[in-house]
Structure formats: C-alpha cells, structure tokens
C-alpha cells in the first residue's frame, strides 16, 4: 500500500518508542475524582447533583438543554463532597464535582449490590435502531471528540450534507502520545465496529481507518479485524489506509486531504467534502455506549515525557487527578526533574502548573517534560527564511501573517487567512528564530473576531 499524505507539515521528534510497546493498564480503586462540569466544545452545563448526594457509576451528574451540549456522568460510585471551581486541563478554573468513592463495607455490613452502584443505559443495537435513537444514545452517553477539541459527537454525526466517507483518525501525529496506537493494537475489532456504527448513523458508503507509517505494524491487525467483522461480511465497505508519518496529519483537514485529495472549504466543515472524521477513542466509546450502555466515564491516555521514568498507557476514570495515577504506581516520575507539565501533546497541548489536574474526556495524554525537553528559546528577529511558509499545512504564509498582525493590519491578516489557522504549531516548531507565531495568531484571532463582531453590530444598527 502506498502511504498517502498532505502538503506541508514537519517532523517533530516523535519519542513514541517510550510508550508504544506498553499495554494499556486500568487504574482501579480510585479514591476521589474531580469531574469538570464542562468538558466539551459548546454551551455550559448545570450540575444535577448536590453535595452529599450518593451517585452511582454512570449516573448523569451534569447536563443542559441545547444542541451543543453533552451530559457528564459520574465515573465512580460515591458521595458528592464538593462542587467548586478547580483548575482544569485548559489551565483555567471551571466548576468541578468532587466525588469520593464509597468506603469499603465495615465488618458485618453487607457489601452493596453492584446494581445499586452502577447506572448504565440499556444496551442498544446500533444497526437495528433508528438514526434518531442512535444519535440520542451518542448524546446520552456523553460522547465527545476525544482527540482534543471535545466537539459533541452527536452533532458531528448529524450532518446536513450527504457523507461519502467516515474516517477513523488513527494518525496520532502528536509526539509522545501512543494511546490511539495501543487502542488500535488491543481493540482493533472495536475500532472497526465503531467505524461501522458511525457509517450506519451518517449513512456513509465507505469507512477508512487511517494510520501513520510509524505504527504500520498495527495495519495487519486492523485488516484482520476488518476482514473478520460481521459488518464487512454483511457488505459494509471498510478499509485501512497507510499515511506517511508527518505532523499535523491528525488534523481533520489534513487527514481528509491526505486520504481524499479534497480540501475542506475555508470556514466549512468536513461534511462539506462528504467526510466525517472520528477519533479512535471516541469510536471505542461509542461501541461501549451501544453494547454495554456505558457512558463516557473513563478514557485511555498516555503518560510520558523525559521526567516520566516509567511511562504508561492507562485507562483512568474521567476526573482522576494524574497525580493519583502516578501515586498508584502505574507511571513513575522524577518529581525534581520536571520542567514542564503538559496536558495533551507537545505541539498543541496546554502547559499547566501541576499534575493534580484531573483527566478530562479530551485528555489524550499528560507529559512530564524534563528540563532539556522543556527548554525554551529566546525569541529572535524574523530572518524571513520562509520555513514557516513551506511548513504551514493551511498555506497561510505565517511570516507575512505575523507581520500583518504586528502592524495592526487586521484586514490583511483576514485576507491571508488568520481565521483558518488551526493552531497546530508547525510554524513555531520550524522557526529557526523561535518566533512565537502561534501565540500571535491566537491573540490575533480574538482581536479579529472582535473587530468582525463590532462591524456586524454597526451594520445591524444602521
């Protein structure tokens, strides 16, 4: 199979070998979870429980009306101890529900029956139910894009345009992260089943599981799972596609271009080119939601980085402080050697002050970088070498865009395509002068949006 790819991009050091061979371990007996109320891209939720409540595992604890909302469920059975603002993985404070696990039954006391502690949805056959029922299930199970953005999956699966292709995003182009890789190796059948369910919901004729060459060894496993899947035997068309290893191939737009050769129109969505892209973790969460009625209450993540002496791929309940995963011994760190803590990958992840911050639905990894990896370079002047111009996968001329923003020329920045920037970080990565390009674009986007909003209001006022 010839490996496909997109134009542009870069090759940051992968460092995946640290954890790619490690089987996913499950964290058990979590004492306390801190569950952020808002973990999705969309409107805020309301907590449905109050302090002192007993909650079952899988019980809905936060929800709201509105299309762009996704409920949150209790990841463990326990007592609600506090509802208060805590630092989230985006490094800002948000309301969190603190749940303490029930203590083990005292001597002579009867252990609680499992059904008193678990509150899952009834199983549902995705291939026998209606599209509406299936979408309702995806929402009720609290499923969001688990690759980072946290976009509500039930919205993604209800496109207003016909879909020709469902793409499972197994690119995992962020350095260090190996959880999608491990999931594809350990649960290939569920990945295939998830693609099939997605195809059924959006009525797509083709499903493609995309995987980068640095994990090509998983390709036969996927192909075997595809061949033996009851869905493909029933005639569904699913295939695996090899991609050249390159960052940011896991970006939705780049992935679609790599596979189909089409480009998502500026300001548009993947559905505009007939595609739906799903994260590997989200696909497995969907399978669990239909087969077991299990909501999204736990997820897999990679814990790695130079200060992580023993890296790991773990499944932890949502809301688990990463420090608890380390305390349980699943991963080991050299605490003195930590130079930087990142939730997510090194290219797009968020730097945070500590690793007590809980795992969220969109936390694909936590990196504990050593001083060398966390080395920050002083920003030098732009030498106009043009490396960012060639690396930008959105072809946005970052060097010129930065000049436009610095000179306050937002009309020019808009023309170049500031709002099309996906903030993948490739331009900053390749910059020999270590210019903080993405940071400028982030700030610039906000300014430009505010300007556009103002213009709109002025126009409406007329």
């Amino acid at each position: 199979m010839t490996a496909k790819t997109f134009k542009g991009g870069a090759h940051p050091p992968e460092r995946k070998e640290r954890s790619s061979g490690l089987a996913v371990e499950r964290l058990r007996d979590v004492k306390q979870v801190v569950v952020p109320v808002n973990q999705h891209f969309g409107a805020p939720l309301q907590a449905l429980v109050k302090v002192g409540d007993l909650v079952k595992r899988g019980q809905k604890i936060a929800d709201a009306d509105g299309r762009m909302t996704v409920p949150v469920h209790a990841p463990i059975a326990g007592i609600v101890k506090k509802i208060e603002p805590r630092t989230q993985s985006n490094n800002s404070d948000g309301p969190c529900i603190v749940i303490e696990a029930l203590p083990p039954p005292a001597e002579g006391q009867e252990a609680p029956r499992p059904e008193d502690l678990v509150d899952f949805l009834p199983p549902l056959d995705a291939f026998a139910c209606t599209k509406e029922e299936a979408l309702a299930r995806v929402r009720a199970a609290g499923i969001v894009g688990m690759g980072g953005a946290g976009f509500p999956t039930h919205v993604k699966l209800a496109p207003s345009k016909p879909i020709a292709m469902v793409i499972a995003n197994g690119a995992e182009c962020e350095p260090y992260l190996t959880i999608d890789e491990r999931t594809m190796v350990e649960r290939p059948e569920d990945v295939v089943e998830g693609v099939a369910i997605t195809m059924k919901i959006v009525n797509a004729p083709e499903g493609v599981i995309a995987i980068e060459e640095n994990k090509a060894y998983a390709l036969p496993l996927l192909e075997k799972a595809i061949a033996s899947s009851p869905r493909t035997r029933a005639g569904m068309k699913i295939r695996a596609q090899l991609l050249k290893t390159k960052y940011p191939q896991g970006g939705e737009k780049m992935l679609i271009s790599a596979i189909t050769g089409k480009e998502v129109p500026s300001g548009g969505l993947p559905m505009d080119v007939g595609c739906v892209v799903q994260n590997i973790g989200s696909l497995c969460a969907m399978v669990d939601a239909f087969k077991e009625g299990k909501p999204l209450i736990e997820r897999g993540l990679t814990i790695s980085g130079g200060a992580c002496v023993k890296p790991a791929n773990v499944i932890a309940p949502i809301g688990t402080p990463v420090s608890a995963i380390i305390a349980a011994g699943l991963a080991q760190v050299n605490a003195e050697g930590i130079g930087m803590v990142i939730y997510g990958g090194p290219m797009m992840g968020v730097a945070v002050p500590n690793y007590d911050i809980p795992v969220q639905k969109n936390t694909s990894g936590v990196l504990l970088l050593d001083a060398e990896e966390a080395k920050h370079y002083e920003e030098e002047t732009c030498i106009r070498c043009g490396r960012c111009m060639r690396a930008c996968s959105c072809r946005l001329s970052p060097a010129l865009l930065a000049v436009a923003i610095e000179s306050g020329d937002y009309a020019e920045a808009d023309k170049i395509g500031l709002l099309d920037c996906i903030e993948c970080g490739t331009c900053s990565f390749v910059c020999p002068a270590h210019r903080h390009l993405v940071q400028r674009f982030r700030v610039g986007k906000q300014v430009l949006r505010a300007i556009k909003q103002k213009e709109k209001e002025a126009q409406n006022a007329r």
Binding site: G349, A351, T381, M389, I416
Partner: protein, 336 residues
C-alpha cells in the same frame, strides 16, 4: 507537588534544532570552495581582503549595536556572511581600507539603519559594493589575471570577458584574450574558473556546488536561482547574445545562488520568488546589452529588492480557499 518553577507557555512546546546561526553557518560553508579557489587564484592578498571585509562587518555590527544599546547579534553570523559575500564580489586588488569601508557601510547603513537582520530592504553586501563602485569607480573596475600565489605586484591588469564584449569584441576574440582555442573551450574555461573577475566569482562549478549544497540542505529554495539563471539564458538568447556565455560570465551564477536568495530581501512566496528571479535575469541582460556597465547583477538584484514587498502579495491560495462571492455590480443606472 511541583508548583514552583513550572514553565507555562503557549503551545507548541517542541522546537526545531535549526537556528539562525546554523543557517548562516551553512551559507558560510557553502562559500568556502569559491573562497579557497579565489585565494588560490589571486594569492594571500585575496585572503587578506576576505579577512578584512569579514572583520570590519562583524566589528561594525558589534559597535553599532553597542552604541544604540541593543542586543549584540554577531553570534548569529549574519555579519560574517555579509562581509564574506562582499569580499567575494570585489576585484581581488581592492585596497583593504576600501573593503573595510564598504563592509561598514553595508552593515551600518544597509542593515542596521533598517533594524538589523531580517528588516533590511536591500541586500547589504550589494549595497556595500554599489557604494564602493560609486565612491571608488576606478579601483572597483580594475581587474587582474589570476596569477596564483605570487604577489599582486606581478599582476598584469586585465579586462573581464564582459568588459571586452562591451567594447565590441566578438566572443572568439574574448576567448583568444584568455588563451582559449575557441569559444567552446572558453565557455568550459569559464565554467571551471579561469578568467579575470571578482574574487569569488571565477569558478561557476564551485559556485554551483556551494549553491546546490544549500538547496540540498533546504537552506535556500531552488526557485530563485533557477529563475535567475533560466531567465538570463532565455533573454540573452532572445536578444541574440550567446546564452551560455551569459550565464557563465560575470557574477550571475554567484548572484543567483548567494545574493538573490538572501532571506531578508527576496520575496517569501513561491510565485513572488519566481517573478523576482525572472526580473533579475531580465534586468541583467538589459544592462549588459544596453546599459553603460558591462555587468549589471548588483543593480538588477537591488532593483528587484524594491519590488519584494509587492511580490509578497502573490501568495499561494490558502488551504480550502473559497473565492469570495462578488456582490453584483450596481448598474450605471442605479449608481446615478
């Protein structure tokens, strides 16, 4: 729990190992063959010219940055590159003090006055040479035959192939002047590097080797050199000049690989770079054919430098570009 000392910064958190100084160093390495060959052809006085030019460029930058209380930037080696480039496009007999003055002018006026590296609109080395050409026209147009490592006192003054051509000589006359049997042999001689000319512009072979080294490393892109050389060849051919002679003579190859590719002063977009290169080739041929100077690479590049900001408008269409829907033009009736 580590709370203190944690670095918080905007993503990305991973950075390339390639730095500005590394890029500049690779340019210096690419220039080593041409420089060494120049010293071999013209002796130690050529080496002194290179050394003085580099040292005065670095010193000028250091002193100027100190004087304006700005951060010292000599560590990025860009001043070394400017000094070296200037030396290589000067006649080997240029008095050292003139070279020093040209170097200082290049750094202080052409580069630092505009804000330093990356902010200068004109190629500093070429500005330095243009400044010297206007200030010391005789010295900067006096050439000698390559005389090996002997002292320049023994040197016989000579004319450059382009100057001879400008005087109305035919190509075979020029070939005979340089001891070549015919014009074909002379072209080969030009390619290998035996002629009267600037210090570092003798051997096209070594210049191309250095240039391709940079292209191979990805330090410069092929578009500008290809456009410069291709268009020079084409326009010379159209105007009835020997196109091979056009690209092998004078400073066009050196200019194409090392001057026109200067980061600060060439356009950033591929389309802009192509037009920029074609423009340089066109102007060079026009100057050689119609102008008062036998050679025009310096001015061709400086003239195209002016257009760089405009050529940068020729951007590649962004990913997913959707042509804006033009509002229907109001008819003339309606606008009245």
């Amino acid at each position: 729990m580590p709370a203190k000392g944690m670095l918080l910064s905007s993503s990305p958190h991973s950075f390339t190992q390639i730095s500005t100084s590394r890029l500049m160093l690779s340019v210096i390495i690419a220039l080593v063959p041409a420089t060494v060959y120049g010293v071999y052809l013209y002796g130690f006085s050529a080496l002194a010219l290179v050394a003085v030019s580099i040292l005065s460029a670095v010193a000028a930058e250091y002193v100027f940055r100190k004087a304006i209380k700005a951060k010292t930037t000599i560590g990025d080696f860009s001043a070394v590159v400017t000094g070296l480039l200037l030396a290589l496009i000067l006649p080997p007999t240029t008095p050292l003090w003139m070279a020093a003055l040209g170097s200082i002018f290049a750094i202080v006026v052409a580069k630092e006055f505009f804000g330093g590296l990356g902010a200068n609109p004109f190629n500093p080395a070429l500005i330095g040479r243009a400044f010297m050409l206007m200030s010391f026209p005789a010295a900067i147009t006096t050439w000698i035959m390559p005389n090996g490592l002997s002292l320049p006192a023994d040197a016989t003054s000579a004319a450059t192939p382009l100057a001879l051509l400008k005087q109305g000589q035919s190509l075979s006359d020029v070939a005979a002047y340089f001891g070549a049997s015919d014009s074909g042999a002379f072209l080969r001689q030009l390619f290998m590097g035996y002629r009267a000319g600037s210090l570092g512009e003798s051997s096209i072979l070594l210049i191309v080797v250095g240039g391709l080294f940079l292209v191979f490393l990805g330090v410069v892109q092929w578009i500008v050199p290809a456009a410069v050389l291709g268009s020079t060849f084409l326009f010379a051919w159209i105007l009835g000049m020997n196109p091979l002679f056009a690209v092998l003579s004078g400073g066009i190859a050196f200019g194409a690989f090392f001057m026109a590719t200067d980061y600060s002063t060439r356009p950033l977009t591929p389309m802009g770079q192509a037009l920029y290169g074609v423009g340089i080739g066109f102007i060079v041929v026009i100057i050689r054919k119609l102008g008062g100077y036998p050679e025009g690479v310096t001015y061709a590049i400086l003239i195209m430098n002016v257009l760089t900001p405009y050529l940068n408008k020729l951007r590649v269409k962004k990913y997913g570009f959707v042509p804006p829907v033009k509002p229907a033009k109001p008819s003339k009736e309606a606008s009245k």
